[in-house]
Amino acid sequence: MKTGVAAFLAVLAAGVLGACGSNDTLTVYGASSLKQVLPKFDASPTYSFAGSDVLAQQIENGAPADLFAAASPEYPKLLAAKRICETPVPFASNTLVIIVPSGSTGINSLSDLEVGPSRRLAVGATAVPIGNYTREALASSGAGTVLTRNTVSDEQDAAGIVSKVALGSADAGIAYVTDAKSSDGRVRAVALPASAQPVVTYMACVVVRDGANTTAAKDYLTKLTGPDGQAALKAAGFGPAPSK
């Protein structure tokens, strides 16, 4: 019954979305963190931005995506294993940082969150990629107490983290450096120790489904991994794709 509901919703969504674009428009499903950069890089496709996990679920249920650009290798690989998309290609990397309101001065390193008064933190929930990376980073730098000694709000996406810090309801958050860059200067990034930095690889894959605009999706991906795409990604704060 659960799959019945999901399939029903997916069909509904597919119907609504399908009615909007003809077959020759390219539809790119992108992770929320790509929202600022992809339309600037190429304005012609139809974009749909959400958490990579949500997008993967939608694509699996038949949503009309042609290309899936995810904030982690996990979901493209999952879809590829189910033959819903072709072999994933890495196209960028991202860096985790602590973000604080731009006017605040109290927090200048990760260790500032391990001592002193209990602070209000906005971090990703365990179920979403940014939350996983955050926990990985804290564990690998032995700073696990950061999430227990402070008051922590579990956010479902980067937007929730950045907005809480930007508006001052949180004293600090852990987000991607690209989120800090796209916050209109309302938040400031504080670097995490290099040893704590997880490898955040962005992977994209061409979706396999009847009626998919495969040619356009492949062209887009080639352009994205080429000089134009890499320059746009770099300008937004992304790093190059890891070589392996």
Binding site: V5, Q156, G168, S169
Partner: protein
Amino acid sequence: MSTRRRNQAFLAACVLAAVVLIAFLAIPLVALVTSVAPGRLPGLLTSPQTLDAVRVTAEANLVADALILLFGTPAAYLIARRSFAGRRALVTLIELPLVLPPAVAGIALIVAFGPNGPFGGALASAGLAIPFTEVAVVLAVTFVAAPFYLRSAISAFAAIDGHCLDAARTLGAGRFRVFRRIALPLSAEGLRSGWALAFARGVGEFGATLVFAGSVAGVTQTLPLAVYAELPVSLDSAIAIGILLLAVSAAILLLSKLPHLWTDSKSQSATSSAI
């Protein structure tokens, strides 16, 4: 087409419209309730996180509702029974939170009561921060739910025949006595239905709470926030909490209408015979 045929066609069109709309409203609710086997509900609803969310929701809503009744009832009585300059503007102001997108309400609350806001700043320098506390949940619920009660209470108090109140006053009753013995009983039904709507809206409050209070497990994570948090983890748990919320809302709305649930009220039967 004869008048009779036209009348019948019109009636049939109304029935068709009603059937389509009611089915559209009911189908998702039925689908939600039937999408998880009833036997699994107790298991899905007794996780520590969900029980925490039940507690937070109950506490915050009880406090918010007490505040809404305590401040809303006298305010509504005043606005309804007094004429003063700017009354319409004031009523519009009260109604604004009803149409404000909840996320905007949340941002407005942060800007006002967050550590950088005019009120929050003073509190923060005194060592009291509202965001990420249960106080923030109470404020968010009160902000979005109070207008539902106020609107209904103002119409209920305004509908009282002024002569009843005047008569009581001339017979020597004081203002408070008139309020308690005449105004309150005469407007009880309107107050009750307004309170029920406000309570149901408050229990379901999501956007303003998420933005203003955050999603701190055991502190600000209410049931609607728990649904959102469970979505990527376990759709079944999310649906189970959804069913619980639906049941609570239905119970509140039904209770408020209990005396009249199956009997058509007089004004309604007058309308139905007019079609």
